[in-house]
Subunit: 286 residues, 2 copies
């Protein structure tokens, strides 16, 4: 039976780390503030927003929401975005994505102040993460995986890590974060010839493919660390990950569940990024 990697545990550790920093900032007259920008009211976005608000609240971070109508025009969206972007009280901006199909997020990626880009969508942060420059913000989900590994003291240096999935939200940036910690990283995807073999070969396996329970028992290496980033809904309407948890847990040395795994760490990373940004602005006022 593998040790269960609980997202709540990693999140709690981050929160404790942040408490002192937030207190210091407030003593200096600065209240860290996250601005969430939401267009329309997709249930996914509302759920994520609720989680983020709650996390900011418990960490002493202000959270403002700019809710824009679903039928907003591109120009108007950019105008509203600019206002938040320029607001000196805002230290971090989270744009809930994807935007409705009529809108283009590319101009917003180019526009966002890289220092406020706490979910790493700006090309400046993408380039920094790719370069291994730690001043860059990586997407929160990618970094949540690193926090989970760190919290459970999983050694990364020199280890064979297989990353399933090559998205810009998880697979690619996570591969760069792992590489920075000296892992030997293999990136797999739908076109990989023998996914089972690549997975079995991994000492640490990160599943971020968006494919319900695709990692079966025979795909997990003995005593592997298995981190599940997938959030899927199965045919019975239940939330599940990319890993067949019940089948794999007996083989893994560590395993993260869904729900209650990486997903629970993401909003804590977001809080950490907002505090980091607020500290930056405190030292480098605009």
């Amino acid at each position: 039976m593998g040790i269960v990697m609980k997202g709540a545990e990693a999140a709690k550790a981050i929160k404790e780390e942040l408490t002192g920093e937030v207190a210091d900032l407030k003593a200096g007259g600065i209240k860290p503030c996250l601005a969430i920008i939401r267009v329309g009211a997709r249930p996914d976005d509302l759920a994520y927003e609720r989680g983020a608000r709650k996390r900011m609240e418990t960490s002493g971070i202000e959270c403002r929401v700019t809710a824009l109508p679903e039928d907003i025009g591109q120009k108007e969206l950019e105008k509203e975005f600019s206002k938040v972007n320029a607001d000196p009280c805002v230290h971090g901006i989270l744009l809930l994505r994807p935007l409705p199909g009529t809108l283009d997020e590319e101009p917003l990626k180019a526009m966002i102040d890289p220092q406020k880009d706490v979910d790493g969508m700006s090309p400046v942060n993408i380039a920094r993460v790719f370069s291994g420059d730690e001043t860059g913000f990586a997407p929160c989900t990618a970094e949540a995986v690193m926090e989970m590994l760190r919290h459970y003291r999983i050694e990364i240096c020199g280890k064979r890590v297989t990353v399933l999935g090559r998205s810009m939200i998880v697979g690619k940036p996570l591969s760069m974060l792992l590489l920075k910690e000296h892992a030997t990283v293999t990136i797999c995807h739908t076109r990989t010839a023998d996914i089972a073999e690549e997975c079995r070969n991994a000492e640490i396996l990160v599943a971020a493919a968006g494919n319900a329970r695709m990692v079966t028992e025979e795909m997990a290496g003995k005593d592997a660390v298995v981190v599940d980033v997938g959030i899927n809904v199965d045919e019975d309407g239940n939330l599940c990950g990319d890993v067949d948890y019940d089948a794999v847990e007996g083989k893994a040395s560590y395993i993260s569940p869904v729900p209650g795994g990486v997903g629970s760490v993401t909003s804590s990373v977001l809080a950490k990024h907002v505090v980091r940004s607020a500290k930056y602005f405190a030292c480098n006022p605009r």
Copy 2:
């Protein structure tokens, strides 16, 4: 005996492809132009400059060199760089690097017009290459490997590719270019626990570690495609690659030599980038 992948062959194919495009541009009154910026006179830089000039010449591309004194100040360098950057006759800029130790190349990376950044040093191009956006310029050496594979019709999709080295000039961007072509990519480096095993496991092995003849016979897989990006000088003063060519050639299905391999393709990729940029400016005048 593996088939020798000759850089000159791949370079010739690129040149032929460019001839018509350069003629079309000239018919439209546009002469593609590369500006090389060199600080000091390091022998490495002079050799690279000579190769690039010659390649531009034979491709009908103008090549200007701005040679700056080794003791130039940062401010002055940035001023000279700005001039070239703003010159509407210049379509591509190649800054010879590394700069002398007293100078900082970071401001130049941020400053360079991404459309003129034909060797991919701007964060904009780095982010594009990382994102798989083909409008980005990848570093010429990384793309030279892709041209070599393409010229010899090596199938990449679904193949296991091991990249030795994680630099921003070759290893990382090349991994992204390979991933875009649906390879399963493993990135190895000095901290990899079992480099020999990772190399042996590869159907395509790219050595870009900067370590003379480190890839020995026992590290090459049977019938692997072996691409050598290393340029080293051995203890006898001879140029050699990262692969022990004599030992590996019998095992490989394809193998690129050093010299005469990837290095001979790099300046052709540079020419291709300058032409692409000139075409862009022809359609999108500033």
